[in-house]
């Protein structure tokens, strides 16, 4: 099984211990943060392991790209911690066990990864995807497994990821466009952190959308919308992709409002917090969600743009109930192209 490559020396040099000091859920001063981080590195118990809500933010706060979050998760598992109740943890592990329930389209040089999220199939239509829509794959065999970071089960990732990379590579494409930050993050950031070679080009769908929109720019009708963007936790694994949100919005004539809970200060959708913890986790999740939606309302937006399907599933009905229409990034682009919105679970058609 592959091992995490974590560089202790980099951590020793660090002055700010940003990973823990900036954490929204810990509220630590530098000295305590350093002490706790040292304990974590040395394999001793730290309260940080208990209080971590697995929001991935420390991964982004680390100035050295040293993967503190992956280390925390490794340690949680070494201590045999259960973040979610056992039954829920097993349910998720079993959900994505590869058992031959996958589907592969007509693979070309470039392929689309729909992860193991059937709701994506509704979204990848129209002009944006006309050249690649048929070249897709979906199923647990190709599932990135990053979600197990939320369950302190990095071992599942370490065990499954090499085979997943192999399965994808065996399809024979040169480049894969990933529609989910977690997938992109796992092949761009997590696989290298575990020393797993990735023999295909890893492209984020934002980059793909941006290029495609430029090609179709003559057909774009500016949307003139003020929107809130719901930045997902997994975007913290790949902060270098966030600028595409602004780039795409400017092509579409959309304003990403300045609000408290965006960019590095984004609030996680809290689906996992609700899943993992008891009533106080539920209250925390409700509280986070209310604060987030209130923040959107104060910014005067009509739409909330989602990137991650799970954020969408956790928040879409709640934002809609407050009069803010949820829309996935792909649907937003299709709207600017004057295309019919999708009707499925993540389709904008449900809210028109």
């Amino acid at each position: 099984m592959v091992e995490l490559r974590f560089d202790e020396a980099k951590c020793e040099q660090c002055e700010g211990v940003n990973c823990l000091v900036r954490c929204k859920h810990l509220n630590l001063d530098v000295d305590t943060a350093r002490e706790e981080m040292r304990k974590i590195i040395n394999g001793q118990h730290s309260f940080v392991l208990d209080r971590c809500v697995t929001c991935y933010a420390c991964e982004e706060y680390c100035p050295f790209g040293n993967h503190p979050f992956y280390l925390i998760v490794e340690r949680q598992e070494q201590e045999g911690m259960l973040l979610a109740p056992r039954a829920i943890t097993n349910q998720w592990i079993n959900l994505c066990e590869p058992v031959g329930r996958y589907s592969v389209g007509k693979i070309q040089e470039r392929a689309l990864s729909l992860c193991y999220i059937p709701a994506f199939t509704d979204l990848v239509g129209g002009k944006l995807f006309e050249d690649v829509a048929a070249s897709f794959f979906i199923g647990p065999e190709f599932f990135c497994n990053v979600v197990y970071l939320h369950f302190a089960r990095a071992s599942v990732i370490r065990e499954r990821l090499p085979k997943v990379v192999e399965n994808i590579a065996a399809l024979g494409m040169k480049e894969v466009i990933f529609l989910h930050d977690e997938c992109y993050g796992s092949f761009k950031s997590l696989a290298p952190a575990y020393g797993i070679p990735v023999p295909f080009k890893v492209t984020h769908y934002f980059e793909y959308l941006y290029d495609r929109l430029k090609q179709l720019s003559g057909q774009l009708k500016p949307l003139n919308m003020k929107v809130a963007y719901q930045r997902p936790c997994s975007s913290r694994l790949i902060p270098e992709t966030d600028h595409y949100v602004d780039d795409i919005f400017s092509l579409l004539g959309v304003e990403r409002v300045n609000r408290t809970y965006d960019r590095q200060n984004a609030l996680c959708c809290s689906a996992i917090v609700r899943l993992n913890m008891g009533p106080e986790g539920r209250d925390m999740a409700n509280d986070n969600q209310s604060k987030n939606i209130e923040d959107m309302l104060q910014a005067g937006v009509e739409h909330c743009v989602f990137n991650c399907p799970y954020c969408y599933m956790a928040l879409s009905e709640k934002v809609a109930a407050k009069g803010v229409k949820p829309i996935h990034m792909i649907e937003l682009c299709r709207l600017a192209l004057g295309e019919e919105p999708a009707k499925g679970v993540m389709g904008y058609g449900r809210y028109q």
């Binding site: 259960l82 979610a84 109740p85 056992r86 039954a87 829920i88 097993n90 349910q91 998720w92 079993n94 959900l95 066990e97 058992v99 059937p118 709701a119 689906a271 609700r274 899943l275 993992n276 913890m277 008891g278 009533p279 539920r282 599933m313 879409s316 009905e317 679970v345």
Partner: protein
Amino acid sequence: MADISSALTEIVGKGYVSQQAQERYFYSQDPGLMQPHEPDYVVLPASADEVQRVVKLANEQKIPVVPRGGGLSLTGLAIPQRGGILVDMRRMDRILEVNERARYAVVEGGTSEGRIIAYLERHHPTLRHSIPDAPPQATLVGNAAIHGQGRLAQQYGFTSDMVTGLEVVLPTGELCKIGSCSMSPYWFSKGPPLPDMSGLFLGWIGTSGIITKIGFKLYPRKKLRDVETFVTDLPDLIPDIVFKLTHLEMVEDINIWFQPLPLMFKGNHHMDIYLTGDTDEELEFKRRMVWNALSEYIEAKDGGFMWLMPDVKPTFMEMPQKSIARFADVRKGGGFQYAGPIILVEKYPDCARKTEELGSKYKLGYSVMARMIGRGHCMMFGFAFTFNRANSDEMDRVRKALDEAIEFSLEHGGLPWKPTVDEQRAAMDMMDPNTLKLFGKLRKALDPNGIMNPGNWEVS
């Protein structure tokens, strides 16, 4: 017997009697495992008067009479074991009255669940009845005649507990009213404060008469409804969890299910806890109470609430639950049967383990589905197995597994629900002899010629 046929035609009209082979074949079976047996005649009466005349004729001629609703009770209860006249009640499907303030309705004896659901939704959106998860063509009388349980069973008990009056054609042909309707224009009570005679018909699977009208309670239908699914891998905790949940007096329905496939469900027991409210605040308050009640299990990491995403939630919210019918056809060829004893909730862990054991012993796809009845007074524990009707070996294995399941549950103090003929015999063998004697006397008094659904509950 051309004269019987023409006498029946005389009663119900030409298009509503049949001796045709295809109709006799159709009515000889149900979707379960019981051996088929053909009726000699099939009739579809349109009124209580027609039912009365059919029964009088049968009684004179000593011909068996078997009433049938949707024919979906699965254990052969509407299969005419001794032939005779099969009375398909489904032409008698009128909704006769809804008393909104007293919250009851009166319908004819062949009215389907689907019709009642649609009618209430359209005309009385603040009222609901207890909907079982049977396909919508099942009839309400069929459900009451077998002591079925619907979505409100946890709050208000068996469907038969919700009955507010009956009109019955006795085996000797008299038309008889039971409950408040016997002396008042109102159908609000099946007995009290009078001596309650509804017990002579409810749960008697058509062996004591044909129900031509039924009154039943309606309940408030809140504007909002939601479900939370609590999941644990420790079946031994279930009785305690149910006790805590029912103590809240806030939960609509509680269903527990356990099945090995798809893989994500393996090893876990899922408790669907339904909640209702008129406002978000009311619903949220109840959700919070439920979470708080179960917090100790979550903190111990022994159980937690599953995330029901928007793409799966509608399946959980359906009434009736189509997923049960889908499970019924999982092996293709549409075979499905469950033994569903009514048993104490404390027996859940033993019954769940027994289901697993039977599944592996007989190499069968299995599923457990348990519905709480009353505030945990008891539950219906369904040992369910699927089969392909074209595979006789598989059907045989299912029969054996179900026999063992029933034997096991009787040993554990349970009672057979909608028992097959064999299970009825086993139950009568275990019954207190004086109880059995009384049962025999009542049967004889009501049905001196033994014409009503013979083969069932026969006290020798």
